[in-house]
């Protein structure tokens, strides 16, 4: 009797153990994926020096010089309100002008924009309504001009900052 009772108990326990084992055949996980806003802009390098060397007798505006040897590339996943702005580290003196044209196949280029007085607090739009995606190898064109009445300009370094923003 005792033996039967023990056996029965053992069997019951076995069943209990077996049942417990069968209750853990699957497990679940919660995995959260997040894609943050991505902005990336890069340029192919620096343009060549722009040097004004000639003009026309009787005319104050000297012959301007241009450079289109560099390109920019952007990637963004935010939306079509993204825009590209440009500014100089410091404004040019009166009588000198720097214009910028940024080509674009993903947004609307502002065409040729005067950035002579665009500093960090007054950056100008150069491309607007940039659609999601990548835009690679788009041309950057600079045009530098000067007035004779402004005088000569010794070799001067300027930094142009391009910023993607929404």
């Amino acid at each position: 009797m005792k033996k039967s009772l023990v056996t029965l108990t053992l069997a019951g326990l076995s069943i209990l153990i077996v049942e417990s084992a069968s209750a853990q055949t699957s497990a679940t996980q919660n995995v959260t994926l997040t894609v943050n806003t991505v902005y990336k802009i890069s340029t192919s390098g620096n343009p060549s020096s722009m040097i004004v060397t000639t003009g026309t007798a009787g005319t104050d505006a000297l012959s301007s010089v241009s450079d289109n040897s560099t390109t920019y590339s952007i990637t963004q996943n935010y939306g079509n309100t993204v825009k590209l702005t440009a500014n100089l580290d410091a404004a040019l003196s009166a009588g000198y002008a720097l214009q910028l044209n940024m080509a674009s196949s993903k947004g609307t280029s502002a065409g040729t924009v005067d950035i002579s007085n665009a500093t960090s607090g007054s950056a100008v739009n150069v491309v607007t309504a940039v659609n999601r995606g990548a835009d690679a190898g788009q041309m950057i064109t600079y045009t530098f001009s000067a007035l004779a009445s402004a005088g000569m300009l010794s070799s001067t370094n300027k930094t142009v900052t391009f910023t993607l923003t929404n």
Partner: protein, 169 residues
């Protein structure tokens, strides 16, 4: 065994979440970039002439004298542009011993583009001041030539090649 399986599952989940978080962090960078430019304006001095060659013919007498009347020509224009300081424009003839008198002076000058020098009478082939005080300006003036002949000099002709030069004062 089951504990081991559970342990591996938990560790994999943590790793997966960590990888996703890291990826997001990487793509948050790079929203601006810069280019360096070098700008320069060299010294520039330019002269130009409108009107070309001239022919002055003395063939009339003064109304009340038996002397040839001078002839004046103001049909040519000189233009200049300079972004330099303290410049002047000189004039010279290649005829250093002319038979007849030829004089030249600037007229109707652009305001602020320089100061007219006194009329020049060509008697040598040296440079003479024509316009002074040219500083970072663009301007123009009428070139007025006056030809005169003394009756004692008879009839004939002189040839002048006139050269204007912009130079430092």
């Amino acid at each position: 065994m089951k504990t081991q399986i559970l342990y591996i599952a938990k560790k994999t989940a943590k790793t997966l979440v960590a990888v996703l978080a890291m990826a997001s962090g990487l793509y948050a960078q790079g929203s601006s970039t810069q280019q360096s430019l070098i700008l320069r304006v060299m010294e520039l001095n330019k002269l130009g002439l409108i009107g070309g060659s001239l022919k002055l013919t003395i063939d009339k007498l003064y109304a009340d004298q038996f002397a040839p009347a001078p002839v004046v020509n103001a049909n040519t224009t000189l233009l200049w542009t300079s972004n330099g300081e303290n410049k002047k424009i000189t004039v010279a003839s290649n005829n250093n011993n002319p038979r007849y008198a030829l004089r030249v002076a600037p007229q109707e000058m652009s305001p602020g583009a320089g100061v007219a020098a006194p009329e020049v009478s060509f008697s040598d082939n040296k440079n003479h001041d024509f316009i002074v005080g040219v500083n970072r300006s663009a301007g123009k003036c009428v070139i007025q030539f006056t030809a005169a002949a003394d009756v004692a000099k008879g009839i004939g002709s002189d040839t002048h090649v006139i050269t204007f030069t912009i130079t430092s004062s």
